[in-house]
């Protein structure tokens, strides 16, 4: 077990975690683990270190192993450091039929990295993922919560340039939405 002493989520994030835990019956708050791990990624540069997972175990009042075994099962959780933007290109059937493979090669060439790698400047990580329920607008990729659909090389290149220009951390559960969670009341 590692030490989570150095980890501290923002007060807003902690409040959000507590809100979510109240959505499940008394004593069943472990159910909140997946949403909380998403929040944890937003609070921790997009990935879950053992220290962050231990900290989450503390919030949920469960054993660290219970967090590790869950975090390692689900593909959206990064257990190694990632770039500020994780590019997730769909590589499954319908997207592949419409050029996903070529799109991955294009991004690899543009960024000078291979699938699974991070650019030296720490801006992008390239991942391939399974069908994102966007097959009618193939090929597509996801960055954070945003779906980028009907991609061509040109369109994809411009989108990546935009993210690079902003240089911000992008996570599935957006950092702004962790900070301001007025949409989650109950």
């Amino acid at each position: 077990m590692s030490t989570s002493k150095n980890i501290q989520f923002s007060p807003e994030a902690l409040e959000l975690c507590q809100k979510i835990m109240r959505r499940y019956p008394q004593g069943k708050h472990k159910s909140a683990i997946l949403p909380i791990l998403h929040i944890a990624q937003a609070e921790s540069n997009g990935w879950l270190s053992p220290e962050v997972m231990d900290y989450v175990a503390g919030i949920l009042r469960i054993q660290p192993i219970e967090v590790y075994e869950v975090a390692s099962f689900y593909s959206m959780f990064n257990l190694k450091p990632v770039g500020k933007c994780v590019i997730e290109v769909c590589r499954t059937g319908p997207c592949w039929l419409l050029g996903a493979e070529d799109l991955v090669r294009f991004i690899e060439k543009k960024l000078g990295i291979k699938e699974g790698q991070t650019t030296p400047d720490g801006m992008f990580t390239l991942k391939t993922v399974e069908c994102l329920a966007s097959c009618g607008t193939a090929p597509m990729m996801q960055i954070g919560e945003t779906y980028h659909e009907n991609l061509t090389f040109d369109k994809c290149g411009k989108i990546l340039d935009e993210y690079k220009g902003k240089g911000e951390l992008v996570t599935h559960w957006k950092k702004e939405k962790v900070k301001n969670h007025s949409d989650i009341k109950q």
């Binding site: 039929l97 419409l98 070529d102 329920a133 061509t152 599935h172």
Partner: protein, 446 residues
């Protein structure tokens, strides 16, 4: 005729909001339902003939009537919004465009089942839809449509959205329940079925997004009226996600019974094959269902036109038929390599196998490896039989149907496209000579 009951009114201003939805008659079904007895709603759903839209097509009314009712034990409704079956994107479309129809359906269905708390389990990748639903649910709370004593009926109900984190298997209902409990998504051995022992060991009904949304028009029009739409046991409308090499990919709401040929070629739906190509094959119900070549998808083996119904698509069994499944309709043109597409699907199932059962965990891995041998030009003729053998040893021998979902596409590809596997073997290492191997998708000009 083409009646639309679910994705109608999408052009109306503010249909995403409570106000806009109400302006189009939203929440009148809830008002009606709350004045009925719960059993009466279950009865209407039975009469409607509605079948689960998540893939298995199990009659919804019957499923509801199985729910155990031990006194003092809470019951739960869980909406399956995990939509991950390759080729399927209708639930995302519906939730994004018209979130309130799902919320209204959830309240009516929960009332019918006697559930005071319900959850929508949405896949984590759809995080932006998660926030759309949160907002819509908040609107419903603010308007007194959720919470205590809904519309003065005395019925209390709390509805929450729960997000997953990337795992196809969590669409399987018992894996979804495990995941909702905060665990790895390992499917449970059945029985006990969720209707008896579901989430937190309480009686639970899991239904697909579209199934729950369909309860709204059924409540409004009555089960008998709904059952008049469609053909035979395929009643009502169905959302079809159309993708692949067609001119007009997208989500279409059809009255069950539209001829497949019309669905593919008419401008009202898919608008024919892209770039003037010919069609080669169709996967009609999401990646798990058997692929059919053009002649068999347009006509049954008996020569009758194939219709978009549960029965017609299944006509001929797996020898010559397929399944409506989730309605993920993937069209492939003449340049598509069936072998490579199959490799892609098999790779998917191998990746998504939860690993509890050896036939699924090992079998999907072996099938992926062998298919890769074909693509690399190292396969021999006996590998075709080996693939056939492996798929047969998975089917029916696993805890959950992911095993079958992985086996069926392999069996169907060999059954209908054996010569293509042979072509790969004959061409050997000279794969560039195989015209199907390199498909060039010119995304620069797309």
């Amino acid at each position: 005729m083409g009646r639309q009951l679910l994705i109608n009114d999408l052009d109306k201003p503010g249909i995403q909001t409570l106000e806009g939805y109400k302006a189009c008659g939203g929440y009148t079904a809830l008002d009606k339902a709350l004045k009925m007895k719960p059993e009466e709603i279950v009865e209407e759903v039975k009469k409607s003939g509605l079948r689960g839209r998540g893939g298995a097509g199990f009659p919804t009314g019957m499923k509801w009537s199985f729910i155990a009712k031990p006194p003092g034990v809470p019951r739960y409704l869980v909406c399956n919004a995990d939509e991950s079956e390759p080729g399927t994107f209708k639930d995302r479309f519906l939730m994004e465009k018209k979130p309130h129809i799902l919320i209204e359906g959830m309240i009516i269905s929960s009332f019918a089942l006697g559930a005071n708390v319900s959850y929508i389990y949405i896949r984590g990748e759809m995080m932006y839809v998660f926030h759309i639903l949160e907002k819509a649910i908040q609107e419903a709370y603010d308007a007194g449509l959720l919470g205590k004593n809904i519309m003065g009926s005395g019925f209390d109900h709390d509805l929450y959205v729960h997000c997953g984190a990337g795992a196809y298997i969590c669409g399987e209902e018992t894996a979804l329940i495990e995941s909702l409990e905060g665990k790895r998504g390992n499917p449970r051995i059945k029985p006990p079925f969720p209707a008896v022992k579901g989430v937190w060991d309480c009686p639970t009904v899991v239904n697909n997004v579209e199934t729950i949304a369909a309860v709204v028009p059924i409540t409004t029009m009555g089960g008998d009226e709904y059952a008049k739409i469609g053909i035979g046991k395929s009643t009502g409308t169905k959302l079809i996600s159309a993708s692949g090499h067609i001119n007009k990919p997208g989500v279409y709401e059809i009255e069950l019974g539209v001829p497949v040929e019309e669905f593919i070629y008419s401008d009202k739906y898919c608008g024919g094959i892209r770039n003037g190509k010919k069609m080669k094959a169709v996967v009609a119900g999401g990646s798990s269902v058997p692929v059919l070549p053009t002649d068999l998808i347009l006509k049954t083996a008996k020569g009758e036109p194939r219709l978009m119904t549960y029965e017609s698509l299944a006509d001929g069994g797996f020898q010559t038929g397929t399944m409506l499944g989730s309605g993920g309709f993937i069209v492939m043109d003449e340049d598509t390599s069936i072998v490579k597409n199959l490799w892609n699907f098999t790779r998917f199932y191998h990746h998504e196998s939860c690993g509890q059962c050896s036939p699924c965990r090992e079998g999907t891995g072996w099938m992926e490896k062998i298919l890769h041998k074909f693509l690399d030009g190292h396969a021999s003729m006996s590998d075709i039989d080996l693939l056939w053998d492996i798929q047969g040893k998975i089917e029916g021998k696993t805890i959950c149907p992911l095993g079958e979902a992985a086996a069926w596409p392999v069996a169907a590809a060999i059954r209908h496209f054996r010569s293509e596997f042979e072509e790969y073997v004959k061409s050997g290492k000279n794969m560039k000579d195989v015209k199907h191997y390199y498909r060039l998708n010119n995304l620069e000009t797309a």
